[in-house]
Symmetry: C2
Subunit: 353 residues, 2 copies
């Protein structure tokens, strides 16, 4: 009644480490080689390079592989080559809907080109971000940084190691993907001017945000062009709550139109103003930025300058994979267009007055 002494390799019932839980260890190129009657190196070639093997043996090997249900071991492959068919994406805040579309865009174009997405977030902290980035660098073939918080120098240092693409920020010597705000803001301001507005309040985002600065510049330029007065209002944080808090400051400016750093601010602002009895857009027009998910849930639906977030994610991934797959290294920064999405929260000044 004792255990038989001879047991398969998948024996030791308690250790259960290597040969997975199902007992049958994965097939290797050696198994295939044996089955196909060739040398392992030939199998390797057949399975990686296309035409470096005779059509006959090619088929032989492929059949054997299929029969054995072979799957390459990514780690074994990564060891000698260093390549993993994997790329990382680090976002500043996984809570922020702005990044949802970016993640989505990157994920989709990634899988389309047979790359896997590895995701991390920095929780808005520059050091966490750098740590995460460093960790990832050892695992992935390349990295996408969405709205990074770390220093330019740190980014460049990373980029020296492996391909890096930055979204929503311009870093010298590093390929970037950034929405060009001019067109969208121009459209928004022209629309506002056409509706008789004379003064625009811009609700700024975080002080250190590269994008916020660009948007403020854009607003100023467009206002000048359209003969509008532009005033800037600071916000405490770029959230719905921050939008609520900034309401009184906005009113104090006397502006009849508002452009916010992002949609969250616009939504909060609108809620607060409406709660205070103001009519939107009859008494004040509100224009957000980004066109995040839910921007059209509000009443009235939010007019906003759409930033093609999904496109940014996709564009960054494309750029990165091009770099990885050796399409030269032209890089440079890719600009994507913004556009006005006209909905209900903006309109004529005091139409009833």
């Amino acid at each position: 009644m004792t255990e038989p002494k001879t047991q398969g390799p998948a024996a030791s019932p308690e250790t259960g480490k290597k040969p997975a839980r199902n007992g049958k260890a994965n097939a290797t190129i050696y198994d295939i080689a044996k089955l196909a009657g060739v040398n392992p190196s030939t199998v390797s070639r057949a399975l990686s390079k296309p035409g470096r093997v005779s059509a006959k043996t090619q088929k032989l090997i492929e059949d054997a592989a299929a029969q054995l249900n072979y799957q390459v071991n990514p780690f074994a492959r990564a060891l000698p080559t260093g390549r993993t068919n994997t790329f990382g994406l680090i976002v500043a805040d996984i809570t922020n809907p702005t990044f949802f579309d970016i993640i989505r865009g990157a994920q989709i174009t990634g899988t389309r080109r047979d790359y896997t997405l590895v995701l991390a977030e920095s929780a808005e902290s520059a050091v966490t971000e750098l740590t995460a980035a460093r960790r990832m660098m050892t695992t992935v073939d390349g990295l996408i940084l969405a709205s990074p918080r770390m220093d330019d120098d740190d980014i460049r240092a990373l980029a020296r190691d492996k391909p890096v693409v930055v979204i929503n920020r311009e870093v010298e010597d590093v390929p970037c993907v950034i929405p060009d705000v001019r067109k969208g803001i121009g459209e928004a301001v022209r629309s506002l001017a056409g509706n008789g507005h004379k003064k625009l309040a811009f609700v700024a985002g975080p002080a250190r945000s590269w994008m916020s600065a660009r948007r403020w510049e854009g607003a100023q330029a467009a206002c000048e062009w359209s003969h509008l007065e532009a005033v800037r209002v600071e916000s405490s944080k770029p959230t719905v709550d921050g939008g609520r808090q900034v309401a009184r400051d906005v009113l104090a400016t006397g502006a009849t139109a508002v452009l916010t750093y992002n949609d969250l601010l616009a939504i909060g602002l609108m809620q607060e103003l409406q709660a205070g009895g103001m009519a939107v857009p009859d008494q004040i027009s509100i224009v957000g930025f980004d066109d995040i998910f839910g921007a059209d849930f509000t009443t009235p639906p939010l007019t906003t300058v759409r930033s093609p977030l999904g496109e940014c994610g996709a564009g960054a991934a494309t750029r990165l994979l091009d770099l990885l797959q050796g399409s030269g290294e032209p890089a440079g920064t890719l600009r994507v267009e913004t556009e006005l999405v006209l909905r209900g929260s903006s309109g004529r000044v005091f139409p009833a007055g």
Copy 2:
């Protein structure tokens, strides 16, 4: 003017494969061993197991490692051990905000325990999902499936290979995390009943959705308990647009209260009804499900049964990592509570009437 014949190992300017772009290849345990004057295997021990090395050499090695800025090579480690400190998450639709919180929850508890999240989506296709899952299985230590579309059997097959945790669906023999809808629905129906409603319309989700069935059951049970009549209305798709389309069918039921399969449906429905001149909640009460991002952007803000999505993601990750780190294999299914979030879209029947 010819090239010097002796070049460093990082030479060949065009190949540039292994020794990264920066030239200095990463330090290995051999380098550390040399510097510390010990054997590589000792270094390995010192760096992985805690107390299997004398305190003296331990420090020696750690110093050398720090000095060399050593970082383990995950692939080299994965090869003999099979472990990667990585787990996968496959969601049905990366577009759907329902999954945002799940992703977020999983990501956060993952990194907290030093695991990296690998993300993929199935684009609502069962085969894509299975393919993605199979691919991932070779790379990750375990897998989380959120609202999977594939067959129970496929899921079980995967689970036989490596630990798998399922969210939003119950699969026998596989650990699951599912929101228990009873409490939340109970609260919602009681609230409605307390406001004088006599008839509730339930707008169903996808026919094959496990969750939709549970929610309908829950609604029926709660209505029976509270002496409400429950009628079921089918929707074409669980989106804002689907909600709009279902409006006339809902009206046709004559119900004064509506509970929808998810928030998106509720939002679309509310938009359509309001566009048709109906007052919410004065003429009809609407209750959504999930409490997704943006559910409070609407006017009135949406009353909804909150499904703790973030908690689901976190719970699934915790469960998975526990399994991975050997805390026995009790598994079983984890139920998380739902609760009513009372906002403005529900209230008394015809208060003005």
